[in-house]
Symmetry: C2
Subunit: 240 residues, 2 copies
């Protein structure tokens, strides 16, 4: 937790928040924060800045706030991901939020087990919980957009073409395709298949919608790893 | 497991292996392999090819081998990593092996908790176990080189300068540094700090040894994520 993220429920007065629960425990046990200390804070969806500890104990911490800095920019990057095994989801949500991915679309695909769609990790409150952990890691306050598409065909035929207007789109999969281009200011959408990959019919439909097959090489990577690698290739030199 | 990895202990005859344990269980339960099926196999440190199932039951599987294909090339990439919390180690070993990282140096740093060095995950047989899972994922047979350096100063003063002969080296850390260059055929060494980062003294010593500070942006990423992202930036166009 490099940033204490708070929301409207934590506000207890003018420029003042009172927190408890997981975040308090982290301040006490991990960061060993004391009265008078200053820490980085940010309002969910809003500004970041400093919070001074007015008091802290085992039950609550009260902070006096000075926040007026805009959070870091998002990458102009949209990810479309075949729903992976639920045990990967939490990390994928955390890591994409931390990296500054702007939008995330979780889609169905032939190789996705139907039962995965029942995972409680796909409930919006649980997705946001993981997103917030990622934002706390990267000192950001803006949740990525998230959409779930449990049917492939309506997504790829009706919604994807609209999503892609003015964007380039690549399908990232192992094999003899050109290497995914690195670093550009152009808004980019990347589609990654589930474990087992997209089937040929799905790739055809994605191509019809305007996506181009590219690759990270011939090695078959786990989806989690592939996601982090494609993010690494989409950093924006002008940010630096 | 996209490749059944075997070693000399599994060889039970000319062009024949007999396997049991975890890999057998995976063939039976996950891949549901039957007699007569062909699967991808590779010999640890050697060639890859096809294995035909002669028989398979709950106790063992016997395969007839045809292997004469060289494994995929490694990336010309060496990683130097500040020892992270042990719970990250297994994934880091698996993922770096899967990605084709050539060499991995785990080093001490001020921000590393001393107790981490006692982790059983740092025993060579446990490191190799994780490496093999990564090789099975990416259909490779060659273990990355691994070195552990529990003292920072002798590593950075005596060993690193020799390691770097003919290589470029970057220190990757969050902040206002130039963006880590993407994609090159030049052998590259990347140093990533532990959680909490390298301290200024350590960065100075790494610079003295020939490394240049670069960045993936201002966001503070988890070490696991940063590693995958830098690997994504070091893919070699000529491989494709």
């Amino acid at each position: 937790m490099n940033l204490l993220l708070f929301d409207s429920q934590d506000i207890s007065g003018k420029d003042e928040i009172t927190i408890s629960g997981r975040r308090l425990k982290h301040l006490n046990k991990i960061l060993r924060i004391r009265e008078g200390d200053q820490i980085d804070v940010g309002e969910l969806g809003g500004f970041i800045g400093k919070g001074k500890i007015i008091h802290i104990n085992e039950r609550e911490a009260k902070l006096d706030l000075k926040i007026h800095i805009t959070p870091p920019e998002k990458l102009p990057l949209t990810l479309i991901i075949g729903l992976p095994r639920p045990k990967m989801l939490a990390r994928i949500f955390r890591n994409t939020a931390a990296a500054g991915v702007r939008s995330l679309h979780i889609i169905n695909s032939r190789k996705v087990e139907k039962s995965y769609w029942q995972s409680p990790l796909l409930q919006i409150k649980n997705i946001h919980k993981q997103f917030k952990l990622g934002l706390e890691q990267a000192s950001d306050t803006i949740l990525p957009d998230i959409r779930l598409w449990s049917q492939f065909k309506p997504f790829v035929e009706d919604s994807l073409p609209k999503l892609l207007s003015g964007q380039r789109c690549f399908i990232v999969q192992p094999g003899n395709y050109p290497l995914l281009p690195a670093d550009s200011n152009i808004a980019t959408t990347l589609a990654l298949g589930p474990e087992g990959g997209f089937i040929p019919y799905e790739i055809e439909k994605l191509i019809d919608a305007g996506c181009t097959p590219v690759s990270l090489g011939t090695r078959v990577l786990r989806l989690e790893s592939a996601i982090e690698s494609v993010i690494g290739r989409q950093l924006i030199p002008s940010f630096f």
